[in-house]
């Protein structure tokens, strides 16, 4: 199974995401922001970083990169898409996911091993977890405060589309402790924490993040 990872100018964690795909048993494929080509991949990851220097708004310029035309069309067709950190910001700017990410309420960059609760295990990227399972995933962002109007938040909660919630500490002022959400279909997931940094015992707080990638591979294999 091929999982593509897009590299934008300013992406940082594209290599880590490709490594995570490989360790999970998939075949990582590097995708380039300036090409209208998904190279026949079965799923796409938009990695973390600071695409286009975070100029204008995080993700605002990346949204209009040539590859995003293809990603948006494929996502609307059901292709599994995961947006991590800057990738989550790009998904919101692209309107594939509702809401937006703003500067952390405490105004400082934060980097910590973050406890999350998995609340939706029906998505393409979380079916390998147990409902209510708590996992530790590194978080590192300056603009990770999830905001949306009350009606949108109510709808997300009512439809079970809050996939991850921060536990113990709300690290960035996200409304209702929301760390990650999904679209109506469950194929597009975005979150601020970085599962690709929790795939090996040697580096990182554990292997709790590996399930994202094995979940996607299981979805693609039709066994999820």
């Amino acid at each position: 199974m091929k999982i593509g990872v897009v590299t934008f100018p300013g992406s940082l964690d594209d290599a880590d995401a490709r490594r995570a795909v490989r360790l999970a048993g998939g075949e990582p494929v590097a995708l380039w922001h300036d090409e209208h080509d998904l190279k026949g991949v079965d799923a796409v990851i938009l990695p973390g970083g600071f695409s286009y220097g975070d100029y204008l708004r995080c993700g605002a310029i990346a949204r209009f990169a040539p590859v995003m035309t293809e990603v948006v069309a494929a996502a609307n067709g059901g292709l599994p898409v995961l947006g991590i950190c800057n990738g989550f910001q790009i998904l919101c700017e692209s309107h594939l996911l509702p809401g937006a990410l703003i500067r952390n309420d405490h105004r400082t960059f934060i980097c910590r091993d973050q406890l999350l609760r998995v609340e939706n295990v029906g998505t393409a990227w979380t079916n390998g977890y147990q409902a209510g399972q708590e996992i530790v995933i590194p978080l590192k962002n300056g603009e990770g405060g999830f905001v949306a109007d009350d009606a949108t938040l109510d709808r997300l909660e009512g439809e079970g589309r809050v996939v991850f919630r921060y536990v113990d500490v709300n690290p960035n002022g996200s409304l209702r402790d929301i760390a990650g959400i999904t679209n109506e279909r469950g194929n597009v997931v975005g979150l601020m924490p970085h599962p690709e940094h929790a795939i090996e015992e040697l580096c990182g707080p554990g292997t709790d993040g590996l399930g994202f990638f094995t979940s996607a591979l299981a979805t693609l294999a039709g066994v999820a």
């Binding site: 204008l56 605002a60 310029i61 700017e93 937006a100 703003i102 405060g145 905001v147």
Partner: protein
């Protein structure tokens, strides 16, 4: 060249950490009378004409790229008009 100005501001209900940081610095400078600060962005677009078609285009630019309607409002005006 005529110029069209687009001003983008965070919506009133959206937290503005940058504005809060600026506001928090004012008392340290001895300015105690400012009740609140909100920080936005100003874009200056040079255009050949300021007819309605151009303004419509600028509004579309403002709505799709310069602002995010989820968290920001924008206003378009012709500079000097």
């Amino acid at each position: 060249m005529p110029r069209v100005v687009v001003e983008v501001m965070p919506k009133p209900e959206i937290l503005d950490p940058q504005g809060k940081a600026v506001h928090g610095a004012l008392p340290r400078l001895g300015f105690d009378g400012i009740l609140d600060v909100r920080q936005g962005k100003r874009f200056e677009l040079e255009v050949t004409e300021t007819d309605e078609a151009t303004l419509a285009e600028v509004r579309e630019i403002a709505a799709t790229l310069l602002s995010n309607p989820v968290i920001e409002d924008f206003a378009v005006r012709i500079e000097g008009a």
